[in-house]
């Protein structure tokens, strides 16, 4: 049995990551380039190289720490870590997987609430109109995050510059988009 098969068959987060996004955690040798280049590393509870190290341990408690981390939601998918990784480990794709897994298992870090609220508002806008309706996004985000005063001065300035539409543009294929959302269980 090869090393990689050994991982895949085990019921650990490293095993699922390998199976889903072909990231082999054991390849990481902790050079730290990902964390050094990560623009948000100093905001993270677990910088990317630390996530890799915890994955390697295959300890349930460490898997739990990763899924419950704030870090996986702070990752902005700038792709810097991947481009500098000497082992070409696709950390950005892994972060996408970890976020979706954390939501599925209801292990989302409380501090990430607003980030997720924003993503949900964004997708809601597309679900109903096919395109992003920026004013709708802002209002829906305010409703979800209860952050009423933020950016309140921005909207009038955007409107005066012709940068914010008051009404959404509905594409013809809205029913088509709704089916895509349904089939992908979004």
């Amino acid at each position: 049995m090869s090393h990689s098969e050994h991982h895949t068959e085990r019921n650990t987060l490293a095993g699922s990551v390998e199976k889903s996004v072909e990231v082999q955690a054991h390849k990481c040798y902790q050079c730290g380039k990902c964390t050094a280049g990560c623009p948000v590393a100093d905001e993270m509870d677990l910088p990317p190289s630390m996530v890799m190290r915890l994955l390697q341990t295959e300890e349930p408690a460490n898997d739990e720490r990763i899924l419950r981390s704030h870090a996986i939601w702070l990752c902005v998918t700038c792709e810097m870590c991947l481009s500098r990784c000497p082992m070409e480990i696709d950390i950005p794709s892994m972060m996408d997987y970890l976020r979706q897994r954390a939501r599925k298992e209801k292990k989302v870090n409380k501090k990430a609430k607003n980030i997720i609220a924003f993503h949900k508002s964004f997708l809601n806008s597309i679900r109903f109109t096919g395109r992003l309706y920026e004013l709708g996004l802002i209002l829906d985000y305010k409703r979800q995050s209860l952050n009423m005063t933020q950016d309140i001065s921005l909207a009038p300035k955007m409107i005066s510059r012709g940068k914010l539409h008051l009404f959404p543009t509905m594409i013809k294929g809205t029913a088509h988009i709704a089916r895509i959302f349904k089939k992908t269980r979004t």
Binding site: L123, I126, G130, S145, R161
Partner: protein, 281 residues
């Protein structure tokens, strides 16, 4: 010659200035676009963060519509949309099973044959060959060329410019008379999709990008991404507040700079819509 264009949502709203400049220079060079009929949002960061299948299905519908309408080459001015379309094409090519599943989801045929150009590739291919004869007012300014993330990364998939110290935007700007400064922040991240949910992080990261450009004596930051533009321009009051600074450097789309160099008025290329006043011409 007719190209397909995928404007993406930003260009119809907060990046209307970018859209105006793309269309204005296209017109000046006799180039016509056909919008991909009934295009939808690419899903952006939200889709790939929350649902992998959705993040592939939304761009796949766009590409399938382009194929269906015979648009073989499509220009995608938004760097974020460009990245989503190219990455989707790559993922579906790599995994035929996944491709079949996505075709089922979008209820359309998808072959993956579209040639997808980012704005600089489009400029290189169609504007540069006829540029010299059109320049009436060389853009004689020191500039910091800011590529951001998604125009150059993931570099192994985009296969475009080099990931560290890319050059394509600097070369285009030199050709209209600008003097690009050495700029180590050219591929640092502006904070991207955290603009609304974590404005503090965006202010911090964007501030560093702006500070270094000013420090190096640049008169403008040149961009090719609407998200970078809105973070560096529209978020300037937040940035100045966060850093207790008074950064004044304007942020100009590469297409706006080209427009000025070929003598188009500032209004026509959307320069009057910026938050940070653009005094250079």
């Amino acid at each position: 010659m007719k190209f397909g264009i995928y404007p993406g949502c930003s260009l119809t709203g907060s990046a209307r200035d970018y859209n105006e400049s793309v269309f204005a220079i296209a017109e000046a060079f006799g180039l016509e676009f056909t919008q991909i009929p009934d295009w939808n949002c690419c899903g952006a960061t939200a889709a790939h963060n929350l649902n992998k299948e959705l993040s592939l299905a939304l761009p796949a519908r766009i590409l399938a519509l382009a194929e269906k309408n015979g648009l073989e080459e499509i220009i995608v001015p938004c760097a974020a949309c460009y990245s989503r379309l190219v990455v989707t094409q790559h993922e579906l090519k790599k995994d035929p099973e996944l491709k079949n599943r996505i075709c089922e989801v979008i209820e359309m045929d998808y072959r993956g044959t579209s040639v997808i150009l980012n704005v600089i590739e489009w400029i290189d291919k169609y504007i540069i060959p006829k540029l010299e004869e059109k320049i009436v007012k060389p853009f004689n300014h020191k500039v910091a060329c800011y590529y951001g993330c998604l125009l150059v990364r993931p570099d192994k998939i985009l296969n475009y410019d080099r990931a560290e110290d890319p050059q394509t935007l600097d070369i285009v700007m030199s050709k209209i008379g600008a003097a690009p400064v050495d700029y180590p922040f050219k591929t640092e991240c502006c904070g991207a999709g955290l603009s609304i949910s974590r404005t503090d992080i965006v202010s911090k990261l964007s501030g560093k990008i702006i500070e270094d450009a000013e420090h190096r004596g640049a008169e403008a930051i040149i961009v090719a991404c609407p998200m970078c533009h809105s973070n560096l321009d529209m978020r300037r009051p937040d940035i100045n507040k966060y850093w207790k600074a008074k950064y004044k450097i304007p942020v100009i789309f590469v297409t706006q700079a080209i427009g000025l160099a070929i003598g188009l008025p500032a209004e026509k290329v959307g320069l009057k819509r910026h938050f940070v006043e653009v005094k250079i011409s």
